[in-house]
Assembly symmetry: C2
Homo-oligomer: 327 residues x 2
């Protein structure tokens, strides 16, 4: 009844990555989220307690995008004992006009990594100082690496400062980034040492306790927090969030529930928040002066999945990539 | 990272149908639902108003089944103008122990049709009189046909009585059933004429107003209502539901929200309800005497999807059916 493109992770890696067109596609979703056009239902969560697993399902419809993505993410935390990765998943794409299945993207989480990295670049593009050239990274996982690569799309970076809980992981990442990007990368002794006057910091950890405090902030800093995406996670001290001149969120509602605003509200405090889409659409102010401190909290949205998955679908069709199944 | 079976509708039709093993698989889920083992989150619904469409996502984890199904059903009601079906969808199956993707079942809704028909047969098996031999059908769509075929797995049927809003559709179904099953099938003048003493009736319509009233009930009747699966639907008059000697539901919670108990509660009335799983497990009484009137309200559950999809996955592997994609 329909022709469905079936793509493996290697097919998908050949089609999309950290490029300018991908950045533009992700940038386009934030004003739509803020104007509440389209639909983005609450996450469906299926618990599999006997196997220490959970399956999360996100979906979003955005007018103007050719596809509707349904993303199914699996986290099965006993998998490493079997030599399998804890995290996986795939995306399905449906035709926006007819609901017919259009593509099955067996990406093993690659597209989530890409769209998350690009979200960080979008935040830096609109909030970091134009002359920002130092990136501090807290954490040394997949996103630590990808955030550095993505921010190069929007700023000329010449120095990378890395802190991670495990120093050997930080050293390994620094060595690898210097070799691959040709940029000086060094390991620093504390999360605060990743912060520079006028620089950029991205926090990328699953921390449940604050790593960045108010005392660590410096004039002109832009900080993006991407770690907290669940009720128990937190990377920024409440007073750091309060102290920022401008506080931005991808989704105000999600930040209060899953992101850095949760602890602020739990402390009985309030924090003026603008959405990234309002800054992009210039209906709210982002940074006004070089001295201001800006913080952006990214919790992740199904809208980003729909944007990146639509791009994959369209490129796969144009290039006849993957396999086509006549259902 | 994983080997995923990709199956088309014709692959799937060759693997499962209205058979005894399929009936056993569906029957096994109801006690699990009633004991609340496993997980079955609320349906995720994504609205696509600009294209008169909606996407519903159901999932369920049941201990003891090899797969976890995620079913994505699309209803895009402008599709007929384009010569496309309104309803479609697919199921994904994940390994229960690892969460890895195991199968993509592009069934276009076939498996939902099958598991719904088998649910009707399970209800008749446990609630209809042992000597029931006449089946009345209200409606003339796909489920009308499949319910007749499925009930033959559990009772010896020698007469079929059909009523539908469009008489020509009823006539067409009767002719086709007589030809294909070799059973006398006739069209009757009103919904009440489908009811016989000691017989079975299945209502299969999307009606929003009652079709079966208290006055139509006869001693020994078993009636299964499968039409109502949404807040605005109703096939049975409130007083008919109240009058039954035994009222059974696949899921008490869903019947109150989406099924025939909704109107009962809206009328300020109460109705003793047992679950189908309790009847199967013999922890609650079903029919006690040949004269009792039994009614079963089926709203449909993600647990049934997980049962039928696991069966497809296992058979596909055993028979090397479909295509295997290395992700």
């Amino acid at each position: 009844m329909a022709n469905v493109s079936v793509l493996t992770e290697s097919d998908i890696r050949a089609l999309v990555g950290l490029g300018h067109d991908e950045l533009t596609a992700i940038e386009a979703v934030y004003p739509l989220i803020s104007e509440a056009v389209g639909s983005m239902p609450p996450i469906q969560r299926l618990d599999v307690p006997e196997h220490n697993g959970e399956i999360d399902i996100k979906s979003a419809y955005l007018p103007g995008f050719d596809g509707i993505a349904v993303k199914i993410s699996a986290g099965f935390f006993d998998n490493p004992r079997r030599g399998l990765p804890s995290l996986g998943g795939l995306m399905l794409v449906f035709e926006t006009e007819t609901g017919l299945p259009a593509a099955a993207l067996f990406d093993n989480g690659y597209l989530t990594n890409i769209r998350t990295a690009l979200a960080g670049a979008v935040a830096a593009k609109h909030l970091a100082r134009a002359d920002a050239h130092v990136v501090g990274i807290v954490g040394a996982g997949m996103q630590a690496r990808l955030q550095v690569e993505a921010v190069q799309l929007v700023r000329d970076i010449d120095q990378i400062l890395i802190w991670a809980r495990r120093p050997e992981a930080a050293t390994e990442l620094a060595t690898s980034l210097t070799r691959e990007l040709g940029i000086e990368a060094s390991v620093v002794a504390s999360p605060g040492d990743t912060v520079t006057t006028g620089g950029i910091v991205v926090t990328t950890t699953p921390s449940t306790e604050p790593l960045i405090t108010k005392a660590m902030l410096r004039p002109g800093l832009h900080l993006t927090a991407i770690g907290s995406d669940a009720e128990h996670k937190q990377e920024l001290a409440v007073q750091a969030v309060i102290a920022a001149d401008v506080f931005v969120s991808d989704s105000r509602r999600q930040s209060k529930r899953l992101g850095e605003l949760r602890a602020v509200h739990d402390a009985g405090l309030d924090r003026t928040t603008v959405e990234l889409g309002e800054v992009i659409a210039e209906t709210s102010n982002g940074r006004n002066t070089d001295d201001q401190i800006t913080i952006c909290d990214l919790t992740g949205t199904g809208a980003q999945d729909t944007a990146i998955a639509s791009l994959v679908m369209n490129r796969a069709r144009a290039q006849n990539a993957g396999q086509t199944i006549a259902t």
